[in-house]
């Protein structure tokens, strides 16, 4: 599924900023690296009203009346937030006059195409949703994706081609797009949004799997490290344990052989050591037990900490009108002419799968049309002969 993000160059920043400011009613006067912007009092914006100077590129920091304009500047980020929230839903039309999309099995074909004629029969509606997907784990940097998903409102079929066309249509270079008022209601949209969410998750599954594997590996390494540390601790405790034990033995001998004073002292000392010994014994046993059962609590804690948190947020929703009908492709191969009629949609391209009339294999980019002398025959067929 196509990445919907747009990389932010300085020229894009300037293009968008100027257009946005003018669209909300500000005036912009460009003077080389400085823009004089005037924000009238009566417009609804978070940008401070009054006169500002925008300075292109980086350099000295912002002050009250001078703001920097570059991809990471605070002013531009504020502007994006505001513009993004202004009208998150709306309507766009994909016109039938838009470029006809010739299928790749014709483009790569030895047969020449001689034009195409699209006849729209009916209007269809789809929704295109831009989803923000945040993926977070402790071992990897947080990743944010923006993905477009298109779903036909009637059939709920996924329309990946339409999503691509939508992204092309809404590039920063596009200044206007025909639309009109949204027809769909909340009730219409809810189930479609569910479908779109499922499609989205399917589309990012590969990416999630990769990150999931990495996070799992990182967790595993940490568990192993912990296990080794505890093993080392057990060894240290065992050593201390046996030291204490031999000290106690020595004291017992003193008790049996020494005079009264030293016996009393040895008894007192042995008592202290014994209680220390028992404590150590308990710790050691507990640690061994935990080790033998694989430190389940700690494992759980580590794996929980490394777990993946995926947040899916629909950020914009667009009702898209497109047309469906039939398209005629005129093909010429030497003296032979043939017209192929296929189901077609504006923005989604050819909707039908076409098969070789001889072997029934699907015509594709890699197995294009080879000849029309005896029906539509594919490249593989000709090669096999």
């Amino acid at each position: 599924m196509t990445d919907a993000s747009i990389s932010v160059t300085q020229s894009v920043v300037e293009q968008f900023t100027e257009r946005y400011l003018r669209s909300i009613g500000c005036s912009v006067e460009r003077r080389d690296d400085r823009w004089l912007v005037s924000v009238p009092d009566d417009i609804d914006t978070e940008i401070t009203h009054g006169r500002h100077t925008l300075v292109r590129g980086e350099g000295t920091p912002d002050d009250d009346s001078t703001k920097r304009l570059h991809p990471e500047s605070a002013f531009f980020q504020q502007l994006l937030r505001e513009a993004g929230e202004r009208s998150p839903s709306g309507k766009l039309s994909i016109e039938s006059e838009s470029d006809i999309e010739i299928p790749e099995w014709i483009q790569n074909s030895a047969v020449e195409g001689q034009g195409a004629q699209f006849t729209p029969y009916y209007d269809r509606t789809a929704i295109v949703v831009l989803f923000r997907v945040g993926i977070e784990t402790v071992s990897e940097y947080q990743q944010e994706l923006l993905r477009a998903v298109a779903v036909d409102t009637r059939s709920e079929e996924s329309l990946p081609k339409l999503a691509e066309t939508f992204l092309d249509t809404t590039a920063v270079e596009t200044e206007t797009a025909s639309g009109g008022a949204v027809q769909l209601t909340k009730t219409d949209v809810r189930p479609l949004l569910e479908t779109a969410r499922d499609l989205l998750l399917e589309s990012v599954q590969g990416r999630l799997d990769d990150i999931h594997r990495e996070a799992s590996r990182a967790a595993d390494a940490e568990v192993e490290e912990y296990r080794q540390m505890q093993q080392q601790r057990i060894q240290e405790l065992q050593e201390a344990h046996s030291n204490l034990s031999s000290k106690i033995n020595d004291l017992s001998e003193n008790i049996n052989t020494g005079d009264e004073d030293s016996r009393v002292e040895a008894l007192r000392e042995r008592k202290e050591l014994k209680s220390e010994y028992e404590e150590l014994d308990e710790t050691l046993n507990e640690l061994r037990e935990r080790r033998d059962s694989g430190f389940p609590d700690r494992q759980r804690e580590i794996r929980e900490r490394h777990s993946l948190d995926v947040q899916v947020t629909p950020v914009t929703l667009t009702e898209v009108e497109y047309e469906r009908g039939e398209i005629d492709f005129k093909l010429i191969d030497g003296s032979r002419h043939q017209t192929v009629t296929l189901g077609y949609g504006s923005g989604i391209g050819v909707a039908d799968t076409v098969r070789c009339s001889s072997c029934e294999r699907e015509l594709t980019e890699r197995n294009p049309l080879q000849t029309i002398s005896d029906g539509l025959e594919c490249q593989s067929c000709i090669k096999d002969r």
Partner: protein
């Protein structure tokens, strides 16, 4: 990769109420399009670029494409944690300089710690200052207090891990950690490894040309310091990537894929570095009988004095070096010693050395230098020659002699201000003639317009020699370079030249190759200069001395061969040669 349990994935769908509510709001024409564009821009990465590039002085550093590319990838594609593993001689230091410059420009470098092998610390300091305008304090500087007293520090890793400093180093949260010769932390049981493992930092750049020293586990250790967990546990790593029976690599593609997330390795053949040829002409001359007598007297004095008082080592070493540079240099040091110091050992011997100096009327090296510069005057563009000496007194004497012969001369030494230095280099380029310089001619100076260099005397530190040559034989030099070495027969200089430098092919090595040889040597804990001096004073006879130097040369050769083998081995692992086909 099997053998581990999967962690949980939790997917949360944020409520869409606000979005659905907005369906009923009528926006102005075009507003929705702008919202879509704004959201898409918010998700986009700023078109990252190295913004500090244009701040660099082109005269100080000329960046190559692969270096800029490595800096870019380390910063923007690896999120500031990268193992820079270019083959030797491709300028890893430059890549780090670029990275640090960029981070400085973006103000993400409040505290930076660069850890290097001891002998490379000062060189790092000079390079970062001269090429990138970045000022670091080095733990060998007098002003250095401790690791919590400065924000930009270059230190030897062994100083940092010493009992005295270790805790201070660890107590601090560093913004950036740079670790040169990162293969020294390959062993997880060493104090060095432990130090790096415990250090707290946000960004880290490790450098090595040979990430693997003995076995693939080395790579596991180094990479795991940078990106813990990338390779999972040690056992799983081993099990998965090494076929232990045949010691071959398995799953090589996946190893490459994972390494690509953290390691950058440029190969020489992939870059456009193309050096011109270097011709070495070593000329040894018979000293005059007076010079011979003086050399013998000084050597005897040094030997005797050192056997009585090893605390004088530095001065004695200086005398031994000066006697082959010029009588004047020697004279000034002895006079200073005689008249400035109240307590003196063997004053009478020194007095008689002074007498011997006064008797010398012909300084052989200076006379022979005239042959070289005259040849250059006839054959080379504007007769440009650079003459290097270690001593100011020698420099002055040569300058006087050359002027008396009618040559245009320029003097360059550490006493000039930096604007004066710039002017001197400029004059030399415009007027031609002879530039007589001490080793204060720093890294950053660009002297490719000259292609003849004379070593009037030789530093006992091979890095120094290479640095001299590096001033003229560098990227951008379009002509072949000629190096003349001058030495007096049967002197320490001849030994150093013939027995050591030529044996390791010093004059044909690049800085990168040399530093990898020397840092290996340094592992044994001795400095090159000390080693030479100790051998010189300890030898009982000339034959002893020759044998001693031969032994040292053998050591060096071994280090060189080892360094070469390692480099080859690493190419094998990373490019897929030598270890045979992958088993999968």
């Amino acid at each position: 990769m099997s053998g581990y349990d999967l962690v949980d994935i939790e997917v949360t769908h944020e409520a869409a109420d606000d979005l659905l509510d907005s369906l009923s709001e009528d926006g102005a024409e075009g507003e929705h399009l702008q919202s879509i564009q704004a959201v898409r821009l918010q998700a986009g990465q700023p078109d990252s670029e190295l913004r500090s590039l244009k701040e660099l002085d082109e005269n100080s550093v000329k960046l190559l494409e692969h270096q800029v590319d490595a800096a870019y990838r380390a910063l923007f594609e690896m999120d500031g944690k990268a193992l820079l593993a270019d083959e030797v001689g491709l300028g890893k230091t430059i890549e780090v300089g670029m990275i640090l410059k960029e981070m400085h420009f973006r103000e993400t470098d409040e505290s930076v710690l660069i850890l290097t092998p001891a002998q490379l610390a000062k060189q790092w300091q000079a390079e970062l200052r001269d090429k990138f305008g970045l000022d670091f304090i080095c733990n060998y500087d007098d002003e250095f207090e401790d690791f919590d007293a400065h924000d930009y520090i270059i230190a030897s890793i062994d100083t940092a891990k010493s009992d005295r400093h270790r805790q201070t180093v660890l107590n601090r949260d560093w913004d950036i950690l740079v670790l040169d010769e990162a293969h020294y932390v390959k062993n997880e049981e060493t104090d060095r490894y432990d130090l790096i493992d415990r250090l707290s930092y946000n960004y880290a750049f490790f450098l090595t040309a040979t990430p693997i020293q003995n076995e693939l586990t080395d790579l596991y250790n180094v990479v795991s310091l940078l990106r813990p967990g990338l390779f999972g546990t040690r056992d799983v790593f081993h099990h998965y990537f090494v076929n232990s029976n045949q010691e071959t690599l398995v799953n090589r593609d996946e190893l490459q894929d994972r390494l690509n997330k953290v390691m950058i390795r440029n190969r020489r053949e992939d870059t456009d570095i193309d050096f011109t040829d270097r011709t070495i002409d070593t000329r040894t001359f018979d000293p005059t009988p007076k010079e011979r007598e003086l050399y013998q007297a000084v050597s005897d004095y040094v030997k005797g004095a050192y056997s009585q008082d090893q605390g004088q080592k530095l001065v004695l070493m200086l005398l031994q070096k000066e006697v082959v540079s010029s009588p004047l240099a020697l004279k000034q040091t002895i006079e200073k010693r005689l008249y400035d110091q109240s307590e003196l050992t063997h004053a009478d011997e020194l007095e008689s050395i002074l007498d011997l100096i006064d008797e010398i009327d012909t300084v052989t090296k200076q006379e022979r230098l005239l042959d070289i510069v005259e040849e250059a005057r006839d054959n080379v563009e504007m007769g440009r020659v650079i003459v290097f000496t270690q001593f100011r007194a020698t420099q002055q004497q040569i300058l006087d002699r050359l002027v008396s012969e009618g040559y245009t001369v320029h003097a360059f030494h550490g006493g000039h201000s930096s604007s004066e230095k710039e002017q001197i280099v400029e004059d030399f380029e415009e007027e031609g003639g002879i530039l007589v310089s001490t080793d204060a001619m720093s890294e950053g100076r660009n002297l490719q317009f000259c292609n003849i260099l004379v070593n009037l005397d030789l530093p006992w530190n091979p890095m120094r020699v290479e640095q001299r040559i590096g001033r003229v034989h560098r990227i951008g030099q379009k002509r072949d370079v000629f190096i003349f070495n001058m030495a007096l027969k049967d002197t320490v200089e001849e030994y150093v030249l013939e027995r050591l430098y030529h044996k390791i092919d010093l004059f044909q090595q690049s800085v990168g190759e040399l530093s990898s040889i020397l840092s290996r040597l340094e592992e044994s804990g001795t400095s090159f200069e000390d080693e030479i001096f100790e051998r010189l004073v300890a030898a009982d006879s000339e034959i002893d001395l020759e044998n001693d130097f031969d032994t040292m040369a053998v050591d060096l050769q071994e280090q060189r061969e080892l360094a070469g083998k390692l480099e080859k081995f690493n190419s094998g692992v990373f490019e897929g040669f030598d270890l045979g086909e992958s088993d999968d």
